[in-house]
């Protein structure tokens, strides 16, 4: 039968995982069809098996497959072909970008006009060493360390009614990740009016330390999904903090992933 080992298709007469790779040891990670196994399993035609030796840096050609080994089978090929634009690289956008890079989304566009400053570090995916750098560049550096197998484009501009169409045409999904409510509305309206086949995953309401469970994902329009609690606005006396901002970012990233896999239900 034919199976895939570390991303390469081979023919084998072995019928069990242990026959192929010996007993499991503490230095070895064995992943069968996206699940890390701790016992022997019978192999079937088309199985995907990864045998990872801890502490050994694999070659480039094996690394990408190993990085995706824990994904559900067939997810990686689909997300690798997809393109997602992230508008705004603050608490939402920087964290969404990190999650989508880990997921292996093959083409990411990162858009922001600002530089990293100290008040960003309470919730945004940046480090002290990034202070003063444009967010696009600081984030691109991190994503390349996380997943060197994806294409990243950066645009250091402010998104406006005038440039949104040109910036985002051709992407499968746009993630709205601005801070300012008027900017959110301008992006959503412009994209929905002019780019008819693109879905927008926006966010509204994630300030403070209210219950995590208030944050949800709703399909509000044909092409618009909104994540958040829909009411808790950032303002004087109501700060933005890492936990709820990251919960909201994770809602957005998961909705983006679902859309890329053809699931339209929130």
């Amino acid at each position: 039968m034919y199976i895939k080992i570390n991303g390469q298709e081979i023919e084998t007469k072995f019928r069990y995982v242990y026959e192929l790779c010996g007993n499991i040891s503490a230095e070895k990670v064995i992943i069968l069809n996206g699940y890390q196994t701790s016992g022997d399993y019978e192999l079937s035609e088309g199985d995907e098996l990864f045998i990872i030796q801890k502490g050994v840096i694999p070659g480039q050609e094996q690394l990408e497959g190993m990085m995706a080994a824990r994904h559900t089978p067939r997810v990686h090929a689909r997300v690798k072909a997809a393109g997602v634009a992230i508008a705004g690289l603050g608490g939402l956008g920087s964290n969404v970008a990190v999650m989508l890079a880990r997921t292996g989304v093959g083409n990411l566009l990162l858009v922001d006009f600002d530089v990293v400053e100290p008040s960003n570090l309470n919730r945004q995916s940046y480090y002290i060493s990034h202070l003063g750098l444009p967010k696009t560049i600081a984030l691109e550096k991190q994503l390349k360390e996380i997943n060197p197998f994806i294409n990243i484009k950066i645009k250091n501009v402010r998104v406006t009614e005038e440039n949104a169409e040109e910036l985002f045409a051709g992407y499968d999904v746009i993630c709205e990740a601005f801070d300012n409510p008027e900017a959110k509305a301008v992006l959503v309206n412009t994209v929905l009016e002019r780019l008819h086949n693109i879905k927008v995953v926006a966010a509204s309401g994630m300030a403070g330390y209210h219950s995590s469970n208030l944050i949800r994902t709703e399909r509000k329009m044909k092409n618009l999904y909104v994540c958040g609690d829909f009411e808790n606005e950032a303002g004087t006396g109501s700060g933005l903090m890492a936990p709820r901002v990251q919960i909201c970012a994770a809602h957005q990233a998961n909705m983006v992933l679902r859309l890329l896999l053809g699931i339209e239900e929130a």
Binding site: D179, K184, A185, N189, S204, K222, A234
Partner: protein, 64 residues
């Protein structure tokens, strides 16, 4: 008429812009879908709402 999935009653046709103002929406922070299609901002004044319509208004609050 339906507003965000809830049935509301009104007496006569009303321009969308007036309806939004009466319902205290901040025009600069919303997106509006009418019967499944987005309404461009420039058309808010021209669109008349009638009782058969279904309107979805999404308001954005700040933070990100």
């Amino acid at each position: 008429m339906k507003l965000n999935g809830n049935t509301i009653i009104f007496k006569k046709e009303v321009p969308l812009i007036l309806f939004l103002q009466q319902n205290k929406y901040d025009i600069s922070r919303i997106a509006v879908e009418l019967n499944g299609d987005i309404v461009p901002k420039a058309e808010y004044a021209g669109v008349l709402l009638s009782e058969k319509d279904s309107v979805e208004v999404v308001s954005f609050v700040g933070g990100g």
